[in-house]
Symmetry: C2
Subunit: 597 residues, 2 copies
């Protein structure tokens, strides 16, 4: 292991650059809704987060990953250092940072809370997931819960006394939620009795909190078929009395554990409700409105997944970089003297290339997810209604991209980090194989890449007659216009303009094809489209970074310009090729019958 | 898990196609050296291998992967089912299949033995590694060992009574073997005393055989610096008397175990020699000739790694395909009726695409490694000297490609197999995450991808003034000419011709640049070059398959044509783009200083 192994990512210099130079956190903090805090508070909170991540999260990550959860009489214990890490997070008030003051939170912008989360997610992905699940559940109740639900369930979640889960999937229904069979029978007292099984439920049992609040999708008898008949229920582990005191165990039990390749510290369970017919649930909002409500949480979760993916890619990159600078091996290619001193492996061109590619992916992804977080803040708190609506529209289009591109490219990026270390990268004595395993989940959970691709090409680009894509295009063009004025970025500005034109042209072709050729054929390249779309969006965010770095003589700025250049020549160019291929509409994948495979 | 989970790969139909229709195993079996066996023997041996893999290898793979090796007083026990699997392999004579009759083997062509190995490597990668290490060590002794070494060490390896290891790496010297410090002092009796530590040594301690024969790289005092001063030694776990009876324990001990992301069933160790000053070793061949000898073994091992990578990609693909045909979920994109029956996920375009891409990668890699295996046979046994020399030359150029392309693309391919299963793919209840973890080692061991890329672009393409590339080019052109005569393959023939011309042009540019720009700059894209080179070579092997499939009305043939077409439109086209990018020689990676990263 490297001496002083705590390498938190993103580097503070880069984070400040992204927040205050590329994006305008200072401006967001001046909006009335966020004005209770200013940059000095923000800096203090980031400092506290980095310290906590270094003291509690990073040191416990390997142990948590190796921990074997065991179910005994429906209960399970977690390792003490996980309890300490989450305890410290609760204690410092981090569960509440994104909630309104009224709800007991700090009312910080999403841009800042997303940034804070990166240090936790990068240093101990599994531990942080417990907090993310809890705040996601609380956010949902903050929007859709009634007064009592907010008082009894949301407040303890924000305080970190209770933890939350999302219980969507069932063994036979993962990506197709319309097929769930969990039943919710109305009871005489206005509550419901749930019965059924949920699969792949993270953190549905543990000893980390006083209570666990499951948000469960189920169907009320007589409900419409498919997703239109799904309702959302609060199903607590322990029922409470009107004063919020724990009253008795609910009939909601974890009956099995699922093992996983990565994110092993987040216990994954089979959750069985109502085996004794006594599982009490409380309807959230109106009947049959569950999918809409859950999508509120899922959209937030999707940007969070993108942020987690970025955090892992950055953490792996920082580790591989430090190793490459410290590890002597071999001679330079032009020095054939076997007695000469070994050089650090960063001096080998192939290693240099692998590191630069990781930087291009990881810091590009960082810029994208932070941009999306800033859109959430604009949508919430911008002065003008049109600003808020524009932010919402753009966020709609970018959500599948922000979830998927950093996840898919993050698998490649963390794999490159392993490769830099060679055999050591493959060893659990080093953190990189854990980052790689953790990362591999991100293209799967909260909607697989295939689902996100259908969402983008089959839905988001069609909404409001394509207004989202037009808006995105205007924003990209504004950046191109600004970059044209900057010496040294002319080539990149021209390149992005060409790529954008290709994207608009091919998007139009593919959208028209959905009507002409049928969905199957027109959407068979949706995943390739999403990746190319993502690379163009990230190129835009790289150009925004490069524009701020241009003319600055620092190594930091030189690195930004170099990574931007790399991104354009490799990933952006590849995206153009992919789009031109899709444009031909002769992708015959759909003609390949299953029996040919 | 799938019912009837034994899905051996490659399918017999495909294997026969590759061996007898695309390649000419029948012709090879008629060469005098191999003429003791014919197709009926060959078929019987393949049958036996598939049966053994199904009965012993596949059923023990998950257990072996989960097994925790523990070192106790320098010894360790292995799980009983590993012993049964390897015992069955030994019993059936599979350790000896590739050795000459004179050495007690079956004298089968490498093409056939490589094919046999796929079923074992795909069904239980770790278990088969013990056999591969042993036969690789025996091959080396068959070539370089003296009479006594062959009698005392090689024969028991071929019989499977002893197992072998390769002990090259040291903690400070992985890719840079010139820096090893293992010392070998001559003793009065003509033997040597070794002292030092080896790192990452697979299978250096276990209870699977009577003895373990380590082949160890070390330096004799006064040896030249660097790789020119390395000698090769036999270092057995137990010393034997002149009659081959075990005499006493040698001072060669495993002093630590390394854990790994994958291939966890192959125990990986720290091997310490001569801690008590009593480690006896026997010099193989002449002093300071160790690298040349070891490269004999490494070249064989490198093609084997490629074959292992193919085996894993094929096994993962077969599993994902069966799952996709069996698993109902969701509706077709054009059927919006939520009450309609769920369709098998193979009916979703994105899943279809992922499967087709896996097929293109896995079966293309299969064709490549089998072609290389056939070259080994030609180099050994072809009638004409020029044929033998040509085979040797071509094999030299293709070895880094056969090792790397299936490994790197195999990581992508096994990852796609996981994605087909979604959450289930991420679960150790299914074999895919194991395939993915096992696969991730292949771009690392036996020379990383970066090392292979330097070998190809920095060495192999320059040897004999580029004769290897010219020969490859002639072979590819011959296939193109043949394919042009086949209806339906004109487009592919023209496409490959264009790609080949690009390859030749860019190779010339990059080779010239090594002199003009210096090695660092000219080789900074070597890994990208290797991948593109590999895709062109595999496209050639796909065209060879498509030519045999064309005009055949079977589903099998339709699948071959579809995958070939996919490969050309996607992977071959991407390779051309990558080469054109390298041709500009403006890859500035080398200018990116480490402090910018």
């Amino acid at each position: 292991m490297l001496a002083g192994s705590t390498l938190l990512a993103p580097r503070r210099r880069d984070l400040d650059f992204q927040l205050y130079e590329v994006l305008d956190l200072a401006g967001i903090l001046k909006l009335p809704y966020f004005a209770e805090n200013d940059r000095s508070t923000a800096d203090a909170i980031v400092d506290a987060a980095y310290e906590l991540a270094a003291d509690y999260f990073e040191p416990s990550a390997a142990e948590l990953d190796a921990y074997e959860f065991r179910l005994q009489d429906g209960a399970l214990t977690t390792p003490p250092r996980l309890r300490s890490a989450l305890g410290a997070l609760v204690e410092a008030g981090f569960f509440g940072v994104s909630f309104s003051s009224e709800d007991g939170g700090l009312q910080l912008p999403m841009l800042l809370t997303t940034a804070i989360g990166l240090a936790f997610a990068g240093s101990n992905n599994s531990a942080y997931a417990y907090a993310q699940l809890t705040t996601a559940a609380a956010h949902l109740l903050a929007i859709f819960g009634d007064g009592e639900q907010r008082r009894l369930w949301m407040r303890p979640l924000i305080e970190g006394r209770y933890f939350g889960t999302m219980a969507l999937s069932e063994p036979q229904a993962g990506s197709s939620l319309g097929d769930i069979t969990m039943a919710a029978e109305p009871a005489a007292d206005g509550t419901y009795r749930l019965r059924g099984s949920k699969m792949w439920i993270s953190a549905a049992e543990h000893d980390l909190a006083e209570n666990i609040v499951h948000l469960v999708l189920a169907k009320i008898p007589g409900a419409p078929a498919g997703v239109k008949g799904i309702s959302l229920f609060i199903v607590p582990k322990f029922l409470v009395d009107a004063g919020g005191t724990i009253a008795r165990r609910n009939d909601a039990w974890v009956t099995g554990l699922n093992h996983k390749l990565g994110q092993r510290g987040v216990v994954n369970t089979v959750l069985t409700l109502g085996e004794r017919g006594e599982c009490v649930g409380y309807l959230v909002g109106a009947p049959h409105d569950g999918m809409r409500q859950m999508f509120q949480m899922m959209n937030e979760s999707r940007v969070n997944i993108g942020a987690n993916a970025v955090a892992l890619s950055l953490a792996a990159y920082e580790y591989a970089l430090r190793y490459a600078k410290d590890r002597p091996q071999g001679r330079s290619l032009s020095d054939k003297n076997p007695l000469g001193p070994a050089v650090p492996i960063v001096e080998h061109p192939d290693v240099r290339h692998m590191l630069l590619r990781q930087k291009a992916i990881a810091e590009g992804g960082l810029a994208l997810v932070l941009y999306c977080a800033a859109l959430v803040d604009e949508a919430t708190a911008a002065h003008e209604k049109t600003q808020r609506e524009e932010a919402e529209l753009l966020l709609d289009v970018l959500t599948p991209v922000a979830k998927t591109w950093p996840s898919e490219r993050g698998v490649e990026s963390t794999s490159l980090a392993i490769q830099v270390l060679g055999g050591y990268g493959y060893s659990p004595e080093y953190p990189l194989e854990r980052h790689f395993r953790d990362q591999r989940l991100n293209p799967i959970h909260e909607g697989t890449t295939g689902i996100q691709a259908l969402d983008l090409l089959g839905r988001k680009l069609r909404l409001k007659d394509g207004a989202g894509l037009r808006l995105l295009s205007r924003r990209i063009e504004a950046e191109i216009a600004a970059a044209r004025e900057v010496s040294g970025l002319e080539e990149e500005a021209t390149h992005l303009q060409a790529a954008l034109e290709t994207l608009l042209r091919v998007s139009a072709t593919l959208l028209a094809a959905q009507a002409e050729l049928g969905a199957e054929r027109a959407l068979s390249g949706a995943t390739l489209f999403l990746d190319a779309f993502g690379s163009i969006v990230v190129a835009w965010r790289w150009l925004a970074q490069a524009r701020r770095a241009a003319g600055n003589p620092s190594d930091f700025a030189a690195g930004k310009l170099a990574a931007c250049r790399y991104f354009f020549r490799h990933l952006l160019a590849d995206a153009e090729v992919a789009l031109e291929r899709l444009e031909k509409l002769d992708d015959y994948v759909w003609d390949v019958r299953p029996e040919f495979l």
